[in-house]
Symmetry: C2
Amino acid sequence: MRQFAIKFQPQDKKVSVPQGTDLLTAATKAGIILTAPCGGEGLCGKCRLIVKKGTVKSEYSNLISDADRKKGMVLACQAIVESDLEVNVPKESVEAHAHASHEAEDFTKGIVLERESAFIFSPFVRKIFIELERPTTDDNSSDLERIEKHLRAKIGGLHLSTRLANLKHLSEVIRDSDFKITAVLSYKDGFFEMLSVEPGDTTASNYAFAFDIGTTTVVGQLIDMNTKSILGTRIAFNKQASYGSDVITRIIYASQHEDGLGRLNSAILDNINEIVEDLVASCRVSMADVYAVVCAGNMTMMHLLLKIDPSNIRKAPYVPTVNAFPPVSASELSLEINPKGVAAFIPGVSTYLGGDIVAGLLACGIAESEETCLLVDIGTNGEVVLGNKDWMIGAAASAGPAFEGSGLSCGMKAVQGAIQKVAIDEDFNVQTWTIGELSPKGICGSGYIDILCQMLKRGIITKDGKIDRLKLSKRIRKTDTGYEFVVVFKGESGAEKDIAVHEDDIENLKRSKGAIYSAIIALLNKVGKSIDEVKRIYIAGGFGNYLNIENSIYIGLLPDIARSVYEFVGNSSLAGARMALLSHEAYEMTMRIYKNITYLDLSAEPNYMDEYIASLFFPHTDLGRFPSVRL
Amino acid sequence: MRQFAIKFQPQDKKVSVPQGTDLLTAATKAGIILTAPCGGEGLCGKCRLIVKKGTVKSEYSNLISDADRKKGMVLACQAIVESDLEVNVPKESVEAHAHASHEAEDFTKGIVLERESAFIFSPFVRKIFIELERPTTDDNSSDLERIEKHLRAKIGGLHLSTRLANLKHLSEVIRDSDFKITAVLSYKDGFFEMLSVEPGDTTASNYAFAFDIGTTTVVGQLIDMNTKSILGTRIAFNKQASYGSDVITRIIYASQHEDGLGRLNSAILDNINEIVEDLVASCRVSMADVYAVVCAGNMTMMHLLLKIDPSNIRKAPYVPTVNAFPPVSASELSLEINPKGVAAFIPGVSTYLGGDIVAGLLACGIAESEETCLLVDIGTNGEVVLGNKDWMIGAAASAGPAFEGSGLSCGMKAVQGAIQKVAIDEDFNVQTWTIGELSPKGICGSGYIDILCQMLKRGIITKDGKIDRLKLSKRIRKTDTGYEFVVVFKGESGAEKDIAVHEDDIENLKRSKGAIYSAIIALLNKVGKSIDEVKRIYIAGGFGNYLNIENSIYIGLLPDIARSVYEFVGNSSLAGARMALLSHEAYEMTMRIYKNITYLDLSAEPNYMDEYIASLFFPHTDLGRFPSVRL
């Protein structure tokens, strides 16, 4: 088949593809992650490229104006390569920050920190140094039995298994290192697996990764398994975004495109491997000293990461292939840590209540609590679990990724430069606080909550989320698609562009907060409890260092009860994965947690839709539910 | 590098090899297994070839006569290819029967048969058919959990694990087969591993192989795992023979030749895969229905089969890498059964007391016996274990493979056409009985025992094993290298050649029987017991259907005690492997057996050498030990 050369500008990337390839595929091959929330179906109109030289075959799309079409603009997913090409990539077509992982702080907070230090330290992978007694005629047991005997003396009650690969050169390794070796052990189903035998004493270098694999963002942490300390945290946009913004679009992509599953799998593996590479490089850790990865993520992410056919996830009755994924060797998964290392996964409850939530429950300790508690995890969807040590019930709200800063005109993740806290005075003067105290680049979830609250208080927006056209301010301005409020003007505090909140953003945020609030109410109704019976409410999500509970209640995201009941815990999915990495007791507990949760399908609940519609106001249609909110 | 074409006749095989290759390697590549007991060191002079056309570079060897050299004869291992060649392969240079596996009967006998039927039937791999309940909104557990639930109801207390590969398309397999599936389970370390999920009900077809991997011969058996019946047995010469006749030569070959270990590994895998292919074809079984192989073999064979560096086995203090080899997937081992199948190995005691002996002890039940028993396994070496349920002690005698028919002028395995029983009357008339009642082709171990005994009784040989030159008979004749006794003349009973016993053969057999007898005495001495305290003596080995105990005692191979103590059990290594395949209790027992045996190093025993030298007579220097033998 004929091959064509395509050059992408301004990235200056070249790629060769066979005739008939679409430009979205070609761009992905060149490492350029285009925005394509519809998964390449030609529906969202976001993956725009401008063909400067050469020919493509492209269907007419009314998503592209005639003027743009004349400039050579096409939808990448609908444009078939027919010659060598030169293509321009508009800035807005590229998934923001898609190319690199970003340094991030760890925002673990409150009870999670306490619990983490309370767990017995029994790391997922441990290294044990042993000086073997040399074999003699009287003591000529095999090399492996000799190792077992010494290990048994050190850690007791050992039942050891190992892979054939470790035996092939074991005798040489032992003798070359003068009978001084380090055994690398991983706990597995009640016994130890010896992952590797290293010459000499390597116990000082034992590292691992905890990962939170979200639909929108991927967060990884490098952990020193000796000191339990976090050496670094990185965050990246999930590269699967070019195959769809939500799990359903991606599952369809996996099912309907040739090697669709393979592409989605490669994308998430790229994310993980990039974060691993970045962190080991910046922390000066050797890749060979990394033996474990524990991942928490939703069911679809886990299926795609393990390349398990996800197609039944989206077909009623929405059955995943597996809840408790088996640990997999790093080499089998193509994970770029030590190839003898192991990856483990936090089990999930059901298709829409995944391992990220189970990890969060582990982190907050709800499954061991005498008191009834609530976990509200605000991610790409909002998941909510209510319960205590005796029972748990959970639900998933279709909240969308707005509070992760995704899908909003100036939204961004909670990374350096994100506006995370906002105050607006009576004269509409705006004060902002950014993560890292840098020039503002955009707004993260907690920033939007503050902005919504302040705009409501100052009357800038109405109860139904429209910007008051009568308010006179340079910050309120009309755009082609409605009104927006400028939070930071270009040049203010070093901002490189205007940072604004558009009415469309507000609508988006309103639906998100409504979905989460009404899911909480649905769970309470299902078990016949009132919100006052809930003694602790843990709020989790990628909000950064800061979440204003008062403001969250003010906009109707969270129920209006005593503020002392609330605790913001940060990314509890990541914290749970880290706990499982550092303590086997914690990892084993996730196996009990997932089995003890009842999943409530909100779409099958008779009153849920009424609740949801009633919540599409600030704070709520029924103001009696929010007595402390004075509009 | 230049490539040269080599043509071997009369096989008419062609092969292309790079300049600098030796002819032994080239022949092996062409599938021609030359006799090379020295492992290609140029010492034995057996791998002779005649170069008819072309040039080789060859060192002078005094093992080749000037006359032969003029004909173009070279030692293959010392001849370096320097041009295209045409080469003749003399018949005597080819390892007998090396190319194919032979049909063989199963010769399991006595107590082994009883024990086999007494073990609880709990096969290594079992298939269970389940009709899954279809998932509903109320019962939407994952596909894997659904399978677990159904399996638990059928076999109880299930702890299931499975590999990632089985999950990738599990949802599709289940739905395509209308929720009717067969789970293929293997017991592993206290839980079940699900090896595979097959659509529909495939329980009727479940097959496996038991293998006895000997230094000289490889025996495989196809077992129907539903009926426990043996569908067929095949025997073949170990193809590693072209790299040396004994384990030490092969270990040296593995260590000193580039990819030496790889070649030895390929050779034994070829043996196994050929037997598998032959048996599944002739029994009309599908390869995909074969999920398990259990192998018993000596330590070196197991190391080579698993491609584990064997070099330390031959260095004092003779330490193997591992005693209890982990089960390995068929695909990892390149075993041509179902790639999801599993291979397991009977553990060994020490370098010179391997899994073949542990399998034999399992088969005879010595490890569970109240009475003190003895197992004498006569294979390439002779291994002897003494003990009961409380203690066991074992030793390996350097007996060589004479009783396997190897290294003798007319020796052969116990297969169709082998003389297994002989009677010589006073007039030196010889009557022979062959396996399968076919024309005689050679003599197997039990035949040699009879011949030696009869020759002693008739005065044909003296007490020290020399043929009496004064006896006048057409059967006694002189050769270049000494005298021989013709058992069958060419033409008699359809024999295609003279079948004779040479003085060199007798010397060889004398050393073998002496090594075994003196090993038995050494063990008794070590524990301070007399032979009369031994209540059962089990004789194992590839003797075919028949072993005359009386005659074995007469030649001094076995102690002279009540004949009723003896029982010939056949190939107990193979029988033990089969038991492990059919019963997990049996397999688990081998893990206890190997740990309970003390290995006695005969070479370190002060009086062993004296005992051995005293045994190099028929029956023994000390006739007082053989009161029932009248010479």
